[in-house]
Amino acid sequence: MHLLLVGVSHRTAPVELRERLDFQARGVELALQTLAARGSTREAVVLSTCNRAEVYAACDELGHARADLVSFVSDFHAVDRALVAPHVYDLSGLDAARHLFRVAAGLDSLVIGEPQILGQVKDAHTAASDVQTAGPVLNRLFHASFAVGKRVRTETGLGSGTVSVGYAAVALARKIFGDLKGRTVLVVGAGEMGKLTAAHMKSQGVQHVTIVSRTMAHAARTAEAIGGATAAPWEDMDGALGASDIVITATGAAAPILTKARIEAVMRPRRNRPLFIIDIAVPRDVEPAAGEIEQVFLYNIDDLQTTVRVNLARRTSEVARAEAIVGEELEKFGAWFRSRGAIPTVVALRHRFETIRRSELERLDFKLSALPPDARARVDEITRLLVEKLLLTPTEQLKSLGDAETVGAYAEALTRLFGLVHQQADEDTEDAPEREPTSARPSAGSGRPELVERRVEPFSRSKNRGPR
């Protein structure tokens, strides 16, 4: 089984194309079902965000599946294949796994270390599980990628610090006030910037938003637009200042509205309650000297942008550690993935031994028929255990083989020595515990001759049943 990734991302495709290739427009589930129906892949997961559209697949035949996936992407979105092809990248095997791990870690994001991507990767996997197109290989791969994302988040500073001005303001407010619930925000100025920031604060749990503007009507309109905000007249600003914890100033005034003296007067009755002032107006609305007042934290737009830049630089410096984690997890996944290369051989070997055992028992059936039923059952049990014991070490050895080349050599030798017949359709039975109810190709179940053959009397024992 091969691992394959075909996709476009912000690194390879312009936004116009990414928009047209967005799987979410028509639904990821539909895409997965459409792809499964094409039959070129055995498992599939579609990861679709505004910055990338990627199809992860497990398939038997790499070349064919690769070409078919590109066709699928262009067919599904009704975009000319010639238009898509130059922007598509494809990776296979552990390179595809590494790519997914880097995506989940936020290393491949437009804004490095961006936190939402891990959730999107999880959603992509859930969607595929729902329509049952994720099988043992992709389940394992995606769970490994969740582990990478989680480790990178907790063990490195890659996701630390906010990299957007709005979030930087909220993060600062949290560092000063702890919980934002029950806090009051005052917005001075009814412009677009103030409105956006206030709405952002409200979405982060702030309960009361008051808006003052020189024109009361403007303030009222903006308050209504935000929803749940109240407007106050310009003359009441000092009172509103005294009652609020966070002040956002965004007026078009040419001279500072809030002078140091004015804020000092407001602060006195507040005693020790901190006041966080975010001055996003240019030219500034708040006298810079006001930041000297004890318990006044004054940040203007440049300060916020500086913290954002510092955060970005810090994130970049953490990339090496995140890459190291990706490498470690890739090693683990690689060991598992390589061990799967031996599975067809293991299955064939077991099948061969089981066939010999059954045919021998059948051949001796006339001699055994004189025995009482429980003695016959014991004979069956003993032979079965014998085969199990004989195959135990070879199975373990095969599964722990290092690289594909060695696996190939061993498979070749075993095939010749025992005259094995490989059966692709049975591959998944080795991974029974993690197998999804159905594979990407529901029709695969009919291709299992073993189940039919097993009905040979009197030795009709399932090979999976444990010893009594």
């Binding site: 907790t154 560092k175 000063i176 702890g178 507040r270 005693r271 020790n272 004890e294 934290f297």
Partner: protein
């Protein structure tokens, strides 16, 4: 015997520092595990000394320090578990290690003087030790508050910004520790006064009992301490002296506590040198 907890505290310090610098979740867990182990070992040592002398070893200055370290470690662990905040450990552990070095390097449990008897004596010592532990915690919280405050004020969001809880939480934790410490300090001092009055009855000839007055440096400095913390509580409630000023006051207060606890106990006091 006090070496074992000292070594464990030192290991915990290294683990907390590692956790603080690199923010490894595993380092944080092992730091807490080390500290719990240190506290258990320390409890065992104190228990053994209790068996040896027949009562809790708090009478002499050295064993009182050991018990204080144990209480402070317990108080810190309680805060860590209730707030799920490990950042403070790296500040509190150096204090634990430094103080625990004293009992580890001096001979173990002194024999309790015959003068020191009655239930009131135990209440006096234990409530004061607990008060000091709270003040120690408040001091450390205050220091971290100032570090974070300075970073935010200077618009230089860096090391502490990424690691410490919010100013609001630090301020509240500091206030709570001060209130608890102040309450126990008050109780301990009143009980001490009552006990001294009783002792004058049955051991009037003892020079130490005679020295128990405001002129004794230990008693005087303890009163200064009480005044500092009372002022801090009053200032926070009446004139809005919270935040940074409260943090500075808790640091000053605890410096006085330490002064009283170590050098004055060993070299200056005439009333408390048991």
């Amino acid at each position: 015997m006090n070496f074992v907890p000292l070594a464990l505290y030192a290991v915990a310090l290294v683990a907390y520092a590692w956790h603080f610098a690199r923010r490894h979740a595993a380092a944080g867990r092992s730091a807490t595990t080390c500290l719990v182990a240190a506290v258990l070992a320390h409890a065992f040592v104190i228990g053994m000394q209790t068996m040896e002398v027949g009562q809790v070893p708090v009478a002499g200055a050295t064993s009182a320090i050991s018990t204080f370290v144990w209480l402070l470690a317990l108080a810190y662990l309680f805060t860590e578990m209730t707030t799920d905040e490990r950042a403070m450990g790296v500040f509190i552990l150096p204090l634990l290690v430094a103080l625990q070095a004293i009992p580890a390097l001096t001979p173990s449990a002194e024999i309790r003087s015959a003068v020191l008897q009655g239930p009131l004596f135990g209440v006096h010592v234990l409530s004061l030790l607990f008060a000091y532990a709270s003040f120690g915690l408040a001091c450390v919280i205050g220091i971290t508050y100032v570090l974070l405050f300075k970073e935010i004020k200077a618009k230089h969001l860096g090391f502490f910004y990424a690691r410490l809880p919010s100013l609001q939480i630090l301020d509240r934790m500091n206030q709570r520790a001060i209130v608890i410490g102040w309450a126990f300090l008050t109780i301990g001092m009143i009980v001490g006064g009552v006990w001294a009055a009783q002792a004058r009855g049955y051991a009037a000839g003892d020079p130490r009992v005679q020295a128990m007055s405001l002129q004794d440096p230990k008693i005087f400095v303890a009163l200064v301490c009480w005044a500092v913390y009372s002022f801090e509580l009053f200032a926070a409630r009446r004139i809005g002296w919270g935040g940074r000023r409260a943090a500075y006051l808790s640091a000053v207060g605890f410096a006085i506590v330490l002064l009283n606890f170590v050098p004055i106990s060993y070299f200056l006091t005439k009333s408390h040198n048991f």
